[in-house]
Symmetry: C2
Subunit: 406 residues, 2 copies
């Protein structure tokens, strides 16, 4: 069995730092309207400067700044109104010395002008004559043609998922398609003789419907991946190995949610070891210890504990960053968090990361304990808190940071 | 002009509390795999109890608890091994007095047994005889048939968007489709003589590409809505009114991103007032003051400032909760936040909510100032901080909470 020497337990931080498969998904071009949360494969640069013309930032009058020097309420400058600039059109008049042109916010500065005086500091005392009561400096009331973005400057960086405002800047620059990493295909394999599909109407004694695959698919989608639910494999190393051989060629990441018995856990390791190298088997985390990380023909494989809650805990901490990294994003976008006061003591063993499901109400985080086999915790938990490896528990009343589920 | 008497400025908190259109989207059934972040229209209840059978939570041996009373390392109980339970199958043997049956985690408790003793406290000293070194109480090592979820109990509540773990519990209960509110259709109308579509390759002098619509579409999608980009209307009240008449019948919410000139702002109000009631015109927020909220034939209409950054600020604070509410969700899911130290003083006028774009690095939030017309702030900002209405500024070095963009 290849890789047996790597059968070793790791801490979560060792895993995040050390298990970094080189694989990245292919690059594809998507239209801007489909680019939200996708990861640009390269920095996107501005083809042209923005705004592209000298643009007024105020409603007022385009002037030669020197014509306003010394202007005050008591001693205004008087300028001849030479015309008006229309929105979205080139100016049809220039500003002569001693003259001005009416400007809307966003209009093009006419030739001859070097500033725009705000309408608030002007009055049309006589038809055709504008009184200016405050001086404006050259460059006042306008932005330069490349002040927003210079030609060739970065619009959005590579590797950071695109946010809604990014789409606005790209649209302004005329970028209507972006080269992004393909969504990682995450193939989810469930195992267990007792596990049947969720659509099973009537359960035979001892059967349970597959809870983990549906929840994992949701986490994968939240991480920008494309979940592929590959179905349920019986507790049989040959069957799992055959399934892995079948799904590996079309997957970017394979997730095996193990059966919950001791035997089932070992079967995953056996099947994976036959196809690649096991990086760790056992994680210093509770719940989630029976976790396996491997690479098979360049495809990362995550073997999750059989308990659905444990599987989700591990996938959030270890699997979600992997999905993002496969798409070229090294720092996953932030998750919602809140600070809360702990309602009761939380025991923990040192040297192990403890992940505690909590409900949060009115600033109080209440740990949800009880048999770990209970699935109803999945919907009662608003989030989790982490007791780090060195700590040996948290005291009631202390302030904790809760990662909120969304 | 109807509704003229309502032309009135409001605070953001007044608006969130007071502008609450009654409209909700229709209810539709979606398969579980498409239900992530959708809002259930009604509580979903369990058709049957979970797990549905008395289930072992440990690997070990099903026993009659009384047969283990008094067992210890020094004086074990000896039980006859009557057989084994297979995963996913009904037991084929019962536990007789003085006997036991081998149990995998997740197996069905056989008749006669009332507890499962963990394998760690047992040894098979002779073939067919199990030595038990620790007593187990009745109910130990197992969950009752309805301990996880009772028949008819709530699986997920109405009105809270479904999270990934919720999908797991629903799958376990055999719920493969959920009645959810339809995604709100949010029709985005851009206005302005200077505004041209993002696909415009060459700009004529004074033209700008529509940045706001693409960014708004992203925010709408993040809020679970379906953005419908309706295109660009010239600065003409008749044209805007005609467009509104056309889009209102198929929209759940209409968003008008106004031209940036004074005249353009007033045109939105005129067109909307002709079709419905204006709830407020002017919001005590910076940036974003020229905001308009109205209801036209039961459809909420949001008129946004012409400046793209201002438009996004207002839509995040006022529009996003509206989109969620249209889908039946009163409390939008949490956004990511972080605490950071402010790098410099932020001035603010009392009585107005100030929204300051910031970049965040190493726990320091640096306000992004400069001409508000600059679009590049859209991608440089990692989030925003809020200076509440009563405050008159924030001091450099103080701790602030930043809402992070994702």
């Amino acid at each position: 069995m290849r890789g047996r020497e790597f059968f070793t337990a790791r801490t979560v931080s060792e895993t995040l730092a050390g298990f970094r498969p080189a694989r990245r998904t292919a690059v594809e071009s998507v239209p801007l309207a489909a680019a939200l949360h996708r990861v640009p494969a390269a920095e996107v640069r501005a083809p042209d400067p923005l705004p592209g013309f000298v643009r007024s930032t105020v409603d007022g009058f385009a002037v030669r700044a020197a014509d306003t020097y010394g202007a005050s309420e008591g001693l205004p400058s008087y300028l001849d109104l030479a015309g008006a600039v229309r929105m979205g059109a080139a100016p049809t008049v220039a500003v002569p010395p001693g003259g001005c042109v009416a400007m809307p916010t966003g209009g093009v500065l006419p030739d001859g002008a070097d500033a725009v005086v705000m309408v608030e500091y002007t009055a049309e005392t006589m038809p055709g004559t504008i009184e200016v009561t405050r001086p404006v400096a050259p460059g006042g009331g306008l932005v330069r043609a490349d002040e927003d973005v210079a030609a060739g400057a970065a619009l959005v960086p590579a590797g950071r998922p695109l946010r809604a405002p990014d789409l606005g800047l790209l649209a302004a620059a005329g970028v209507t398609a972006v080269a992004v990493h393909a969504r990682p295909r995450v193939t989810i394999v469930s195992t267990g003789d007792e596990v049947v599909p969720p659509c099973t109407a009537e359960l035979a004694p001892g059967q349970v419907r597959d809870a983990t695959a549906s929840a994992l698919a949701g986490l994968v989608a939240d991480a920008g991946g494309e979940p592929v639910v590959a179905g349920i494999v019986p507790d049989d190393p040959g069957a799992l190995e055959a399934t892995l051989r079948e799904v590996l060629p079309t997957a970017d990441l394979v997730v095996v949610s193990a059966g919950s018995s001791v035997g089932a856990r070992d079967e995953t390791a056996g099947a994976v070891a036959a196809l690649g190298d096991i990086w760790c088997h056992g994680l210093a985390i509770k719940p989630g210890k029976p976790t396996l990380l491997a690479e098979c023909a360049g495809i990362p494989v995550v073997g999750l504990p059989g308990n659905p809650l444990s599987a989700l805990v591990v996938f959030r901490l270890v699997g979600v960053p992997l999905v993002w990294r496969l798409a070229g994003c090294e720092v996953p976008p932030p998750e919602p968090t809140t600070r809360a006061r702990l309602s009761r003591d939380v025991p923990s063993a040192g040297g192990r990361l403890d992940v505690v499901q909590v409900s949060v109400r009115d600033g109080v985080a209440a740990p949800l304990f009880g048999p770990s086999a209970l699935l109803s915790v999945l919907t009662r938990a608003d989030g989790h808190l982490i007791v780090p490896e060195p700590a040996t528990g948290l005291d009631a009343g202390c302030e904790v940071e809760v990662t909120l589920y969304r």
